[in-house]
Symmetry: C2
DNA sequence: TGAGGTTACGCCTATCGTAATAATG
DNA sequence: CATTATTACGATAGGCGTAACCTCA
């Protein structure tokens, strides 16, 4: 699990739309798709239901969404803390 | 910033000893050294003082140590949560 | 039939380990 | 002179984009 995987997952989950999430992340659709696939494979959990040409969060995906946001928030706090230390 | 960078940094910081940390992580010394260097470069912050052939946490490094531990703890919680979902 | 997700594939960069170097206790 | 961190360097794996595809409204 990497922060990058979580960032991609959250962007897609919030939109339930891979193309728009990929665009927002300046990433090709295929890369976003592969990232989600790698997360699903890593934990053996299906994060999205593929319904026709749309995707929808599974209950398991919804759990991850909450947790992933928390990690990303804390990681961002670390980043800001580090950047504030440059001055000192 | 990646979780892997933080893991390596914490292992070194806790021991103030790169060789032993690298061994504990099943990593070559050089890789551990490069990882710290990449973190320091990324934020322009010196994390360790190189005193002779020993290393010692800087005050900035001590700050990161606390924050990094928190992120890693939360990341581990996500991992455990995901693993608990496999059953469901 | 066109919009959107997946798969195939080649490329490229980041990271690794080995080995050489520097420093010091 | 043995130990430890850094630097150099070639090799490899992981992640990216392009493009072809499959499916469905």
């Amino acid at each position: 699990m990497t922060l990058e995987q979580l960032r991609v997952f959250v962007a897609i989950a919030e939109r339930e739309h891979m193309t728009r999430a990929a665009a927002a992340l300046h990433l090709a659709q295929s890369a976003a798709s592969a990232t989600v696939a790698s997360l699903e494979a890593e934990y053996g959990v299906k994060l999205f239901d593929r319904v026709g040409r749309t995707i929808r969060l599974t209950p398991q995906g919804a759990v991850l969404l909450d947790e992933a946001r928390a990690v990303l928030l804390q990681a961002d706090q670390v980043r800001r803390r580090m950047e504030s230390l440059v001055a000192s």
